[in-house]
């Protein structure tokens, strides 16, 4: 993705307008502090992507470097027709949608609970944020070995007390097992964004509605929810961008087995283990296209919030 996806926004007037525009030198002096960061970003993120794009048009297995040749869109049609790869596209979608929706709903519930004053609110907030602050691999290990283990995991241990069944969570419902661990990590993220949204509501307006006899449900349905809409969108989109790219949980909990291989894992596997450079690149480009679709919406939401903040300031 390049600057072409930049969302069109009308900039608020800059804080300082240049007082004495004395020619080109001055413009470059203003630009100079920006250049190192800009050049660095282009070199490290854009150039490799261009290379990926080029490689994706080649039949190139690094074990047979001499057999490298241009194949046009062959890699793409292989990615899209190969049953395993097509399944990984589907898995990616399923994983992302399920995790984003579940953590968004849970996050909304928690944000509503935390938006009120009660004893120990700060501590509860800290407890709720903690899952997001466990290193992702460590969190995945925790779920895989300590919670899901069919013989002595905590889940089956607790089920044991109530005389429940003792399922093998990972073999029985592998995708759900990965999703549950991700929902646990991402719910706090959604909660933080939605809590910020709740706290930016116009409290006078809500008081006025309450004085006019609106019920809590009416206030939620007609005032809170419309206000939260863009925060929900932002949470969903940022969550999608991070979870589409998820590698840690899939790699750790199932090692991509049992039908849980998503696209990032497949890309990793096809060049790191199968050495299929061309194929891996084509799959990588597909991930990017998916991300661009999500990102275009995300940029729009961010820019509208950005504009609002700027106009409020």
């Amino acid at each position: 993705m390049t600057a072409t996806t930049t969302a069109p926004i009308t900039a608020p007037p800059p804080a300082h307008t240049e007082k004495r525009p004395s020619g080109r030198l001055r413009a470059w002096a203003t630009r100079a502090p920006l250049l190192p960061a800009l050049i660095f970003m282009i070199a490290v993120t854009q150039l490799p992507f261009v290379a990926t794009l080029v490689i994706s048009f080649f039949d190139w297995n690094s074990l047979y470097p001499d057999a490298r040749q241009f194949t046009g869109f062959a890699n793409y049609s292989e990615v899209l027709t190969d049953a395993a790869l097509r399944k990984s596209v589907w898995t990616t979608i399923l994983l992302t949608v399920a995790v984003v929706l579940a953590s968004l709903v849970l996050g909304l519930g928690l944000a509503l609970l935390l938006d009120r004053k009660f004893r120990g609110r700060g501590l509860v907030r800290t407890l709720l944020i903690a899952p997001f602050l466990v290193v992702p691999v460590a969190a995945a290990l925790l779920w895989k070995h300590v919670l899901y283990n069919p013989e002595y995991g905590l889940l089956n241990g607790l089920l044991h007390y109530v005389g429940g069944p003792q399922p093998d969570w990972i073999s029985g419902t592998p995708l759900l097992a990965v999703e549950a661990s991700l929902v646990w990590q991402w719910t706090p993220f959604m909660m933080l964004i939605l809590l910020a949204g709740l706290q930016s509501r116009d409290h006078q307006q809500i008081e006025a509605a309450r004085v006019d006899g609106a019920s809590d449900w009416q206030i939620f349905r007609h005032l809170t929810l419309p206000h939260l809409r863009r925060y929900l969108e932002l949470g969903a989109l940022l969550g999608s961008i991070y979870i589409v790219q998820n590698f840690d949980a899939v790699f750790t909990i199932t090692s991509g087995g049992l039908g849980t291989a998503n696209l990032p894992y497949t890309v990793y596997q096809s060049f790191y283990q199968a050495h299929e450079n061309g194929l891996a690149s084509a799959a990588g480009v597909l991930v990017v296209i998916g991300s661009i679709i999500i990102a275009t919406f995300a940029l729009r939401v961010v820019s509208s919030l950005f504009r609002e903040e700027a106009s409020r300031a």
């Binding site: 925790l142 706090p188 930016s200 790219q245 990032p264």
Partner: protein, 283 residues
């Protein structure tokens, strides 16, 4: 006893109920971490029981095992590599992002919002998009298994977040104060050091902590680009993916020790966390 008193009472009771629900949710979400901490202090045989042994004797054996007492690989090289990669890349990010944020807020270039959104769009480019060329480049230049390659990649990973966050923090510095200082004859370094820095410092600190967290957590680049020498802490943890007999206490100790820097940084940056994670869109 007026009508309002009757109305107030059920509301208060419901308030207490909702407070309790919030507490319950907090405990449920924290339970896996609390259990991980407790298990890390149990002996291996107490850690692997069903039903779970909540009150078993406490021991530091899990931690001793993790730090290599049982003859396993020492985690210290990985922890040091992670520290170098996270701290140095965070410093580099600040070095590049501070001037950029200045040119996007206090003395903005033309079309500064377009530039800002260019930075954001690079953050949305998935890691896998450039992974293979970076791997091939590293392989051909002998940079594989070199921690400095990760430093560069982590810098690029965090630079967009830092530019966005710091832009929003610097934009909060009132223009009037800067102008007043300039009228009093203060030169640019003085203005930056004495006027801008004190106001923007908490934001800069939060930005640094968030960049540190993302670098510390990163797995995919580290997994593909490092081997025995430059291995980072998350890569070290992947050694625990396949079960090795009774090893729950060791896994818990390892997970907890390696997560501690992130937990500490995250709680320190708690108030600015959401602003950083939403790339400055939410304040």
């Amino acid at each position: 006893m007026s009508a309002t008193a009757i109305r107030v009472r059920p509301r208060r009771a419901r308030g207490a109920g909702l407070g309790l629900a919030a507490w319950l949710a907090g405990v449920v979400f924290f339970l896996p971490i609390a259990w991980m901490a407790l298990t890390s202090f149990h002996s291996e045989s107490d850690a692997a029981t069903n039903p779970p042994s909540f009150g078993a004797a406490l021991t530091l054996d899990g931690y001793r095992e993790f730090f290599g007492a049982g003859g396993g690989a020492s985690p210290w090289p990985a922890l040091i590599n992670s520290t170098v990669a996270s701290v140095v890349s965070t410093l580099l990010v600040l070095l590049l992002a501070l001037p950029a944020a200045y040119a996007l807020s206090i003395r903005p270039v033309k079309k500064w919002t377009d530039v800002l959104f260019f930075f954001l769009s690079t953050k949305m480019l998935p890691v896998v998009a450039g992974l293979l060329p970076i791997y091939l480049f590293a392989k051909n230049t002998g940079m594989l298994d070199n921690i400095w390659l990760l430093v560069i990649l982590y810098t690029s990973m965090n630079l967009p977040i830092a530019v966005w966050m710091m832009q929003s923090f610097l934009a909060e510095v009132p223009v009037a104060i800067i102008e007043a200082a300039q009228i009093d004859g203060a030169r640019l370094p003085t203005v930056l050091g004495r006027v801008v820095a004190p106001i923007a410092l908490p934001g800069i600190a939060a930005t640094a902590l968030i960049c540190f967290i993302f670098s510390w957590n990163e797995l995919l680049f580290a997994r593909v680009l490092t081997g025995v020498v430059a291995e980072t802490a998350p890569v070290f943890l992947t050694g625990f993916i396949t079960s090795q007999g009774l090893f729950l206490a060791k896994v818990c100790a390892a997970s907890l020790v390696i997560s501690l820097p992130v937990l500490a940084a995250g709680f320190a940056a708690q108030d600015k966390l959401v602003q950083g994670l939403s790339l400055g869109a939410v304040k």
